[in-house]
Symmetry: none
Subunit: 182 residues, 2 copies
């Protein structure tokens, strides 16, 4: 059955949520309404959803959980029967819990920062590469031009050579025009 539950949560589309909530509410109350302390909602609001802040001292808070399934899609086929994962429910009041949460929050923050940083770096890398690319492209253009000029030159000379074995002086003129271009 647990599985079922999990499954549902996975699919969870919006609507389901509500439903669940209600259901759970029922349970809770049944279970122990005694222990929770809660929070009122606001005055005027009739609300029903509470909050939890944490606290060690006074209240308890509550949190939901419904097992989700794997992220990627796969989903787990619900473990056979592993309900006994932790015998202790880990009170949300406990210092232990609070401490862990807080540490996790830090870790999360850190991780996200890192991630963000990385993304930015990647973006920067793109620009870098783009620049480099332009540079290279320009260089290629230049080289190409140079090459073309040289080739022309070469051809001309070859020509001359072939044509007149003995160029009195004509050839020189060509020689002068080489590099330049832009």
């Amino acid at each position: 059955m647990v599985n079922v539950h999990a499954k549902i949560s996975c699919q969870l589309s919006v609507e389901t949520i509500d439903h669940l909530a209600l259901v759970s509410a029922c349970f809770v109350s049944a279970r122990e309404s005694a222990q929770m302390s809660k929070i009122a909602q606001q005055s005027s609001t009739p609300g029903i959803r509470v909050i939890h802040t944490q606290a060690h001292a006074s209240g308890l808070q509550q949190v939901p959980q419904l097992v989700p399934a794997g992220p990627g899609g796969g989903g787990k086929a619900v473990p056979p029967s592993k309900q006994s994962k932790k015998s202790s429910p880990m009170d949300r009041n406990s210092d232990e819990y609070r401490q862990r949460r807080e540490r996790n929050n830090m870790a999360v923050k850190k991780s996200r920062l890192k991630s963000k940083q990385k993304a930015q770096d990647t973006l920067q890398r793109v620009n870098q590469l783009k620049e480099e690319n332009e540079r290279l492209e320009a260089k290629i253009k230049l080289l190409t031009k140079e090459l073309s000029v040289l080739k022309d030159l070469f051809l001309e000379h070859a020509h001359n050579l072939a044509d007149n074995v003995q160029p009195t002086s004509t050839e020189n003129t060509t020689a002068t025009s080489d590099s330049a271009g832009q």
Copy 2:
């Protein structure tokens, strides 16, 4: 209801139950009479953060709210708590609210997906550019080589020409040494 509860709980795994319970608790309390508790925050941060938790997969969750509702109570340092923001505090029960939340959840999901996609694209772009870069670099190498060859060829010819034209020899030697290299 109770029955249901019992039944279900049995079926459910331990943890789940717990979670549900908690969650529901929230609701319940709110629903029934909520009282709140808390706010103790922790030391360093004054803020008072309330937190809202939410329910995970399923969607339930609770949220905080600290409204000073009370007549007397209130004083918390909570931030601006402005309940008057909108005449209607927007109950979390309201359909209206739920609907909005849901829409927002969708939007969030969408946005995140998009963001992730973008990041991936950027990464891909990097690879693309890197490849392009290599290509260009290779081309440059090639062109450079070609150019060098051609230059050499050219020089050689020039040499020959010079030689042939004027076999005298003395002056020619100087001419040969020039460009070359890169």
